[in-house]
């Protein structure tokens, strides 16, 4: 069985194919699992909704939105420990994996994981690693907008023929894909995007506005004393932003560490103003994708919205304005990518129901090498020579002939880059290798550089000297900090030793986390009262007696309800 996974910045979900796409509910019965990981006092990993509650009560032990650091060597601290983004992601995947096995009652050992189309090579590899760290064989890394299109292609099979634009604004990334759907064939024509534009940026903008409006200093989440206020401010900003989806005004309030309360009203007008610079950034990737696909916006048969951030009215309005038409949103935007991952899992399993579906995808970035250009004696080095141009259909293999810089050169360094800028210093380095040459004149020396790019976005580069047939090749690894097999093995063992809280305790975990969050937010007698009930609930959990736990849990639930209602 293959599991389809949408590993999102804000939420993740899993889907399986059983004669159709089925979304996998987690232990709480929700299909969305917040992409939040926390370490509790016993050293156990808490994932999902309970971890999300702990963002406010235990920010120093909790991490969210770590997808933004995929493919970097940054370590995200959780208490005294620290993890790479792919390690934190692996905890989410482990949790989704357990949910799927509980649903199916059978082992699952393979996965299809979606990534933003605009994810780089290193980010894709990190995603693959996350799956492997969770003990799954990653069959395929699939572009999110392509997954969204697959889900729509299947749902709207009879009406969706023609060119379609997928507008996918998630928690942290924005992707645009232009596809052609035709009788079961889904051809991606072009993809563009912005890796740093998503719903989280709108929350940041609201938080910044609030701080300015009430005259407080913006707390710095990177300092120990700033963590709690920053987490609370973000939570309040997000709540206000969500409220605004259904109301013209959302009142936003925040209790400062000194106990004073600040309030401000976020109106639709204010939100439109502060969101303006972010909306402006939507335009460039759309223009790029359409221009590359040679399809005019007026020729599109549908504009499909995907990603949770497209729930925002302001985004829908902007999408409608940009295309001069109403976008299609028949599927839940939070679920559409996950559903597509499920379809791809079905395709991988050669499901009979999908036998006539074929998908072709493209390379989202230009890939090339560093060269010099110009006349002899007036050269400018550091130029990018594209070998595989962006939006080339994959898999693909392309060759470019090059020559060394001067006569009798003994070796060349082939430096590989990805990106659309003219100078390599503005592009992203992927790796390099050296090719030894038998010294000859330039006119007698020719080198063939070949790039091979597969459906998973994995690149292999080889170079061959024509004169003597010497050749070198490289499969691009994560930059310089690639792990050796032994290191990878050790990491896997270290992570496996970390226990994730048991599934059947999820509801209690969530209740406890919620209680702790409210406790943090309240002062005075509310706090004292809640402290007592929380203590009782914790001791009840320790007894492991279901009846005692249920009773203490009911008491806590009642009190929380009361406190939240009295606000």
């Amino acid at each position: 069985m293959i599991l389809g996974i949408d590993l999102g910045t804000t939420n993740s979900l899993a889907a399986v194919w059983r004669d159709g796409v089925e979304l996998v509910p987690n232990a709480l019965g929700d299909v969305l699992t917040p992409s939040v990981v926390s370490l509790d006092r016993t050293g156990e990993i808490v994932v999902g909704a309970a971890a999300r509650e702990r963002l406010t009560s235990h920010p120093e032990m909790t991490a969210a939105a770590f997808k933004r650091y995929m493919g970097t060597s940054r370590r995200i601290p959780l208490g005294t420990r620290s993890f790479r983004a792919e390690e934190l992601s692996s905890f989410i995947i482990r949790s989704l994996h357990a949910d799927a096995e509980a649903l199916l009652g059978a082992p699952v050992d393979e996965a299809v994981i979606t990534v933003p189309a605009y994810f780089s090579d290193a980010q894709r590899r990190a995603t693959r690693t996350a799956g492997e760290l969770a003990g799954l064989k990653v069959e395929r890394v699939l572009n999110e907008p392509t997954a969204a299109a697959l889900a729509y292609g299947l749902a709207e099979r009879d009406t969706a023929d023609g060119p379609v634009l997928v507008f996918d604004l998630g928690g942290g990334t924005f992707d645009v894909s232009v596809l052609e759907m035709n009788d079961g064939i889904v051809e991606v024509r072009a993809t563009a995007g912005d890796n740093f534009l998503g719903g989280e940026d709108f929350d940041d903008a609201v938080a910044m506005w609030f701080a300015g409006a009430v005259g407080m200093a913006l707390p710095d989440a990177l300092t120990p004393e700033g963590q709690v206020p920053a987490a609370r401010l973000r939570r309040a900003a997000e709540a206000a932003r969500r409220l605004l989806s259904n109301a013209p005004t959302a009142s936003m309030s925040l209790t400062l560490p000194d106990g004073t309360m600040r309030e401000a009203d976020l109106t639709t007008e204010i939100f439109a103003r502060i969101a303006e610079p972010l909306l402006e950034r939507l335009r460039t990737p759309i223009a790029r994708a359409l221009s590359d696909s040679r399809i005019r916006p007026e020729e599109l048969s549908h504009v499909v919205l995907a990603g949770g951030a497209t729930r925002m009215p302001i985004i829908r309005r902007e999408a409608a304005r940009l295309f001069g038409r109403l976008p299609l949103q028949r599927l839940d935007p939070d679920e559409v990518v996950g559903r597509g991952a499920g379809v791809q899992a079905g395709l991988k399993m050669r499901s009979a129901a999908l036998s006539d579906i074929v998908l072709t995808d493209v390379a989202p970035y230009t890939l090339g090498i560093e060269v010099s250009e110009g006349r002899p004696g007036a050269s400018s080095p550091g130029r990018m020579l594209p070998v595989i141009e962006r939006n080339t259909v994959v898999p693909v293999s392309r060759m470019r002939p090059v020559v060394p810089g001067r006569d009798f050169q003994r070796q060349v360094e082939v430096r590989i880059f990805q990106g659309e800028a003219r100078l390599v210093r503005d592009n992203i380095p992927l790796g390099s290798f050296e090719l030894a040459l038998s010294p000859r004149r330039i006119s007698e020396q020719s080198i063939e550089v070949r790039f091979t790019y597969d459906v998973n976005g994995i690149l292999e580069v080889s170079a061959k000297a024509e004169a003597d047939g010497a050749s070198e090749r490289i499969v691009i690894q994560h930059g310089s900090d690639a792990a050796t097999p032994e290191e990878a093995e050790a990491r896997l063992a270290a992570l496996a030793a970390l226990k994730i809280h048991p599934r059947d305790q999820s509801a209690n975990r969530l209740l406890l986390a919620r209680g702790e969050r409210v406790f943090e937010e309240r002062l005075g007698s509310d706090r004292d009262q809640l402290g007592v009930v929380l203590g009782q609930f914790e001791s009840a959990i320790d007894t492991q007696d279901p009846a005692t736990i249920e009773q203490a849990g009911a008491e806590l639930t009642r009190l929380l309800h009361e406190l939240e209602a009295s606000r």
Partner: protein
């Protein structure tokens, strides 16, 4: 990619040769069901290549930029009016409004972009702020986008200006920092520059740095030279080249004043103390087409070429230097004095290791530092100069004969 379809291609597609795009498309899709990228990656690549070749050979229908009622000329005229009135913010607003009125990627937005590319983008007088705004909103940094596809050469010039603006912005920002004293000096108006120079003076290392700065400005062509104060420029050139070369101490040449010590002289490294940058720029020799960076070149301690250098390669210059018929300098009597034109020797400088000069009947003992960048070099010498003597050690280590160049009375 642009090859004509072969019989094998048509066989892959499973159709007889045709130039009907819809037939080709249908055939491709039909074959895809058997030869998908997942099920048969090799076969799929052949199929895809066949499909692209077949489509390429089809008579292309001209790109339809029509279908837009937008009057590009009126837009450009309105923009010109705001610019002429000095209303930069208004001009930017007009661009944004016009752009916002049409969907991204639509025919109308392409008409606007094309008009701006053709009529505005490369105007010398276009303000940096407006230019950078256009480059940003129309994504002109993108080397694979619409602007590049439409006219690569034109777009290359746009990219040159973007590079110039980026350099200037970074340079100006650096000039604001405490480390950026020399950069600030270069940007200062003449009066201020004179004051600072008089007060602080500049040492040999700073001279080299200023040379490097000039080199970088020159490498961005004409885009930036207008942003420097002409007076400051003249002042700095004089400061960097030493005291007026031929105007002083004809009878008692002072080598130290003319140049840094002999050992250091010929190897002035023109960088902003960013040695790596220089290495990268200088260490690679180019060939039209493509050249792979050679590691061996990085190890080379003697950079040969750099920047927009039009000097001759050492191998070409060497025999020319030794040829008595090829002059090294030209001294011409002009109405306001003797003009010394160094251009010939500068063009051959890559084959020169040392250059010594003397005045009138003196022996050529004064070390003359060679600029490392392509600069038009000519001086007006004082009237008591009647001849210049020169001796050169070429890169093969051989000292030349002493040559003497008297003033020619008539202009060439």
């Amino acid at each position: 990619m642009s090859e004509l379809p072969t019989p094998d291609d048509w066989a892959s597609l499973g159709i007889a040769p045709t130039d009907a795009t819809d037939v080709i498309r249908r055939a491709y899709r039909e074959q895809l069901k058997k030869t998908g990228p997942e099920t048969d990656p090799e076969g799929f690549q052949r199929l895809r290549a066949a499909y692209e070749a077949a489509l390429q050979a089809c008579p292309s229908t001209p790109a339809a930029v029509v279908g837009s009622t937008l009057d590009a000329n009126a837009f450009i005229a309105a923009l010109a009016a705001r610019r002429a009135a000095g209303d930069e913010a208004g001009a930017i607003a007009l661009v944004d409004e016009t752009r916002a009125a049409h969907p991204p990627g639509s025919a109308a937005s392409e008409v606007i972009e094309n008009a701006l590319l053709d009529h505005v983008a490369l105007e010398r007088m276009l303000s940096p702020a407006l230019f950078l705004h256009l480059a940003r909103v129309f994504d002109w940094r993108d080397t694979q986008g619409h602007a590049a596809r439409r006219d690569p050469e034109h777009h290359a010039v746009v990219l040159d200006r973007i590079a110039a603006e980026d350099f200037f912005a970074a340079f100006s920002a650096y000039a604001q920092t405490p480390e950026g004293k020399l950069e600030a000096l270069v940007l200062a108006p003449h009066g201020e520059a004179l004051e600072r120079l008089t007060k602080d003076g500049i040492g040999p290392e700073q001279r080299a740095e200023i040379r490097g700065i000039f080199d970088q400005f020159l490498s961005h062509g004409a885009f930036l030279m207008g942003r420097l104060d002409g007076g400051t420029l003249a002042l700095l050139r004089q400061a960097v080249e030493g005291p007026p070369l031929l105007g002083e101490s004809v009878t008692t040449p002072r080598p130290a004043a003319v140049a840094p010590p002999a050992s250091a002289a010929p190897r002035v490294v023109p960088t902003l103390s960013k040695k790596t940058q220089w290495k990268i720029r200088a260490a690679t020799v180019a060939l039209i087409g493509a050249v792979v960076l050679g590691r061996a070149l990085y190890k080379s301690d003697r950079p040969t070429y750099g920047g927009n250098d039009t000097a001759l390669a050492a191998s070409v210059a060497l025999p020319l230097l030794k040829d008595p018929k090829v002059p090294w300098v030209d001294m011409v009597q002009e109405p306001d004095g003797v003009r010394v034109d160094w251009a010939p020797v500068m063009r051959m400088r890559h084959a020169i290791r040392d250059l010594r000069i003397g005045y009138n009947d003196g022996k050529p003992t004064t070390v003359f530092p060679l600029p490392q960048f392509d600069a038009p070099i000519g001086f007006l010498a004082p009237p008591n100069i009647t001849a210049i003597s020169m001796r050169i050690r070429t890169t093969d280590g051989v000292w030349s004969e002493i040559r003497r160049y008297p003033v020619r009375q008539e202009k060439k």
